[in-house]
Symmetry: C2
Subunit: 338 residues, 2 copies
DNA sequence: CTGTTAGCGCTTTCAC
DNA sequence: GTGAAAGCGCTAACAG
């Protein structure tokens, strides 16, 4: 809330003995001759003047505010993305309006509507509902990962297909012969679906027989993993697979715990590679939960910022893919000697 | 950015065949007779009208925006706090301006200044620098944990002292005889300093000899912990302590890994209790990294929101302490039978 | 170059 | 009850 008696541009003008137009020019960095500029700057300092954002916003229709709509900040990936978006926006002189929609379609739409009607200059969104129809043509918006059927909206995502291939290739490189894929997917279509395509592609390329668990995400994931394990247990207790590519670090870590609990050694008996690159305690220096195909969170964030701020909307590509990379996280063997 | 040709209150008035004043009243839920109200509402819907926040803000000096200033959202505790603050604010019709200051005093002050001069109705802050002197009298602000010497600013924090006592009591309850305390503290004074006071108090109460590692946080924490360990190793390899109260889950987890690496069993040989209640993958259902004195993050957040929105600033207590609780996280023994 | 002035869209008296 | 009109603080166009 603006302070009740905050000095206005008029007060500054009076104090400096110049016209308001001159003050405005000084504030906005336009050319003003030295003696005038000096007087204005002194007056501003003396009165502790600060421009009123509403008045300016009303006039020039710009808020330097970007809305970031995400499910939450609890999930480490979202948290990291949020952090990097905020930093990138700050860098460019923009503020971040944080909108945690929690997967609630009403809240997502409410935030989006609020954002588009006024208040913000653009939106970066990772939503679950199909927001496509709510977006005015030409409105600066960029979405992460999600794909909308009925509308072309600029998207930024990791190169999930290549990431999926990479996971298989790494497992093979580290000595696996039978890598399986496990996934508990959301019902919303997005680029991350291509991780499986990458797995399948790599299987074909390297002559492997695909074998996977592919279910809708649910609270019973844990017991489904156990079922999967039991189905792949030989009479002697050994497993018919020796490598796991998990669709997410989260479920990979869940599987890791299950395997160890069942007496299997990781990475000796089974190697695991996840996807995302989630780090313990969130720190960028911290270790991963499991070996993983890491999403370039920082680059995703700055690309989103770059695109949402792009002056020329028509120059914004409809899909931008950023490369992933493999990182060791304790559930793979060290690279074999060549 | 407000759409260039967005309908204004005038357009609605013309469409509805009433005066702008009437439209304003309808928008703001004031009394307007049915036929008029109906016409206005129809016109609003027809034109897809939405109030311009700047014009309103300029007029009534209120933005329904609260700035949340925190170091980052990478740290799981900050991430959780952010998430809950956003939710609590949304509940009350407010939006969240996310300001990650990253411990940079300039950025903290910049955000704070921006916030106070205009744009936001209040500030919730967890900062490192001494922002006390920058806060206008009566400005709605609430800080988490930090203590400022030169200024009384409403603070909300966990009851760290009781939490410290609780940690020791739990360790004793689970059979420990010699609990030590380890801490790598920030140089900024805050309520969390009282965790150590709680430890010392409990030691005195239960006739224990205090023994601790208390250093300024630094990159060498790991080797300092190893030093500490070596200093407490008997010739036969056993340790002179059997319980650890770690100032944070983070360093507790670090110590856990060190202990296991050195061949000690946790919780059989040594039990560990941390502080904060950090969960793997951020989920509220997920397991803790280590047994911990959990901060009531959600309650801290809603208390901050409640206080920052309080109409009567003089009714806001200068310090609000919220209770912590113990939760098992794998590094303590189950409660002994009585 | 500087100073004057007309609004931006809204709320809010104040007549009616 | 409703409608007309005066600004909120700022920017930008235009006149000097």
């Amino acid at each position: 809330m603006t302070k009740k008696n905050a000095p206005t541009i008029k007060d500054v003008a009076r104090e400096a003995g110049v016209a308001v137009g001159t003050v405005s020019k000084v504030i906005n960095g336009r050319n003003v001759r030295q003696p005038y500029r000096q007087k204005v700057e002194d007056a501003i300092r003396k009165l502790n003047y600060e421009v009123n954002t509403y008045a300016r916003g009303l006039k020039i229709r710009k808020s330097n505010l970007i809305a970031l709509i995400i499910p939450n900040t609890l999930n480490p990936f979202f948290a990291a993305f949020t952090d990097h978006v905020e930093a990138a926006l700050y860098e460019k002189g923009y503020k971040t309006l944080l909108c945690c929609a929690d997967g609630d379609p009403d809240k997502e739409i409410a935030y989006l509507t609020m954002a588009m009607q006024n208040k913000v200059d653009g939106v970066i969104a990772l939503t679950y509902s199909d927001i496509g129809s709510h977006i005015a043509d030409g409105f600066p918006i960029v979405v992460l990962d999600r794909f909308f059927e009925n509308r072309v909206i600029p998207r930024v995502a990791s190169d999930n297909f290549s990431g999926g291939c990479l996971a298989v290739e790494k497992l093979l490189e580290f000595g696996c012969r039978h890598p399986v894929y496990i996934r508990f997917h959301s019902v919303f279509p997005g680029e991350s679906d291509k991780r499986k395509d990458g797995y399948l592609h790599a299987c074909e390329k390297y002559g492997l027989k695909p074998d996977f668990l592919d279910e809708v995400d649910n609270p019973d994931a844990s017991s489904m993993l156990l079922d999967f394990l039991n189905r792949h247990r030989r009479p002697d207790g050994s497993l018919t697979f020796d490598g796991v590519f998990a669709h997410t670090d989260y479920h990979g870590y869940m599987f890791l715990n299950l395997l160890r609990q069942e007496g299997y050694r990781v990475p000796e008996d089974v190697q695991i590679i996840g996807f995302d690159g989630i780090r313990k305690f969130g720190g960028e220096q911290e270790s991963l939960f499991i070996s993983s195909i890491c999403q370039p969170v920082r680059q995703l964030a700055s690309k989103c910022v770059e695109l949402v701020l792009a002056e020329d909307r028509s120059s914004v590509p409809s899909l931008t893919l950023l490369p992933t990379r493999y990182e060791y996280g304790g559930t793979t063997r060290k690279q074999r000697e060549i």
